[in-house]
Symmetry: none
Subunit: 195 residues, 4 copies
């Protein structure tokens, strides 16, 4: 007997909509992706999308909720840890996992910042980034130390897609990026307080 409906079992269609939508959002941007396009790709009607989601934005919200959970977990974890360099570096390692675990979503966010900012997910994304950077940098450290911390973050964001210009095994590239990021927070720590 097939898997019993646990919850009424979030239908397969729902997931397929999310998949296709995310793919198209990431490819052409949120605004340029129409519901017609999504529906056509799935061979269903636009109206079908509305059976599963309240609105276009809601599709995106649901995707983000499902895929960005690891980042929230990482933040929750980090908040319970001592603010040591080791913790910060473990944060980066976990963040790398989270990003590479949902490349299309984070690519979408990276490439549609203007749009995302005006959508309801904008708020939660912003607060996650803020939380992460608050935990990485010491508030009373020098400006360049702070910059190094933020750069560690951006290096991972940008690195995810922009490194396609460099040859090499994806996992090695990811490792290289992480290494640079780890190094940056280490240097930030070393450079000490402002002055």
């Amino acid at each position: 007997m097939a898997t019993p409906p646990h919850h009424p079992r979030r239908s397969d269609t729902r997931r397929r909509i999310q998949d296709v939508a995310l793919e198209l959002f990431a490819e052409h941007g949120y605004e340029k992706t129409s519901l017609r396009e999504i529906a056509e790709r799935l061979d269903v009607t636009k109206a079908a999308l509305y059976y599963h989601f309240k609105t276009k934005e809601d599709i995106l919200v649901s995707i983000s909720e499902d895929l960005a959970r690891p980042v929230d977990e990482l933040i929750a974890w980090a908040e319970s840890q001592p603010r040591t360099l080791a913790t910060k570096q473990e944060m980066l390692r976990r963040y790398s996992d989270a990003l590479w675990g949902a490349v299309p979503l984070f690519r979408f966010i990276q490439e549609n910042q203007a749009t995302v900012r005006e959508l309801s997910i904008g708020e939660s994304i912003k607060s996650r980034i803020t939380a992460l950077s608050e935990m990485l940098k010491e508030p009373d450290s020098s400006l360049s130390a702070q910059v190094r911390c933020m750069t560690a973050l951006f290096a991972m964001h940008a690195g995810m897609f922009a490194m396609q210009g460099i040859e090499g095994d994806p996992e090695e590239k990811r490792a290289a990026i992480l290494e640079v990021a780890l190094d940056l927070v280490a240097q930030a720590e070393a450079s000490g307080v402002a002055g």
Copy 2:
């Protein structure tokens, strides 16, 4: 007192359109900014925009042509220099100048990558970034050296806007970002070839 030009101020209109358009593009994104909105802000008709520009996209193209020139000049300059560390660092300094000389444009590009990619300016932007990164990194250096070079670039891009969360004088922040970027290429150089 300088007599104003014959026609009162007739047609700085073109410039005013560019200004308002860029402001709105940067604020709400390219797709969400309608020509109606631009026209209303300027208190002219939509048709007036079409007198000055062939197309919505053409407005953006013209802005980009006008404001991104310094980057092209920088690339031209760099191509005539020896590939030393000093040259690379001077490139970063000039790039910093170019970026901070047209913040709204580069903010727009940064935050609308998905859109920009599908627009005609996408090609020229991509080729500029490629050119810059080709000149910063040594092709046979280690992966992490290459990552460091690209990160130097991204640090400046992202830094331009994302540093708003950090207190401090803008010029000082810019200097701090540049410093980190300079440091990254220095480290890249130091770490030597792969292996």
Copy 3:
């Protein structure tokens, strides 16, 4: 009494759009007929038209496909017949039926040749006319014999509308036109080969 279909009269809409569109196209021309006009006449929104047809041009294409079928059938039939005078005359009789069976369409085509030529239906219309005239005239007959054949065709086209200046029963007029056309091909046949 025939039970009307489930949905009251839902979507004979498509047919109604075609009808009104053709009427307006024939009355004011294709370009001067706006979709707003069509929609208003039907008391639906412009968007409703786009539910049923991809494009303004597509409305016309669909009309032409539906109504010009008899001409295609006639051509197919004629191609399987011997090239005798009797065949040619039967062609004209059937062509007369086809034309009078869809007067508004052929009136539209006749009166909007410049427009039609630049539309996708232009090609198919042109090829139909060519096919017909190729089958009516002998390639090696005298110039005036060929002119007579083409004139037989044009007489029917023009006659359909231009004869409104002449009093008399429509069916009688149609018969008179057909008679003249039949006579023209007979004369063409009689006049023999060039020389």
Copy 4:
């Protein structure tokens, strides 16, 4: 000294506008030809067109007035002649001259009937055609005799452009068309009164 301004000498530009306009009207139709297009082809501004003509329609009117004069003269001449077969045939000969003397104009009229009908020139064109056909056909002759007369007219109209599918010297084709037309009125005459 150059030719003295006779009338202020209807400038050369005026004529050039008419030429280009007629060419484009005939090529793409009246509605699809924009003043911008005309102006661009002449390398002047749209506003310049308005110096020479009150409106778009006025350009067409002026062309028609200039080029269709021969038809009016022919009608005037015919009205002073006896209604014999010889007169009718001379009418056709002169009409052929008039048509072939201004091919683009008559091509335009032929291919844009729907448009022309709604323009001010429509009235004068219609009345000319009516006048001609009234003079060709005897009001109490048989229907088919009348059809033959109108067909003589249409043969010339349609023949002007549609004969491009037939090989042969243009002048010979024109002669062949005229011959058929002459023949048609002769037959009409011969077939006598209705009954």
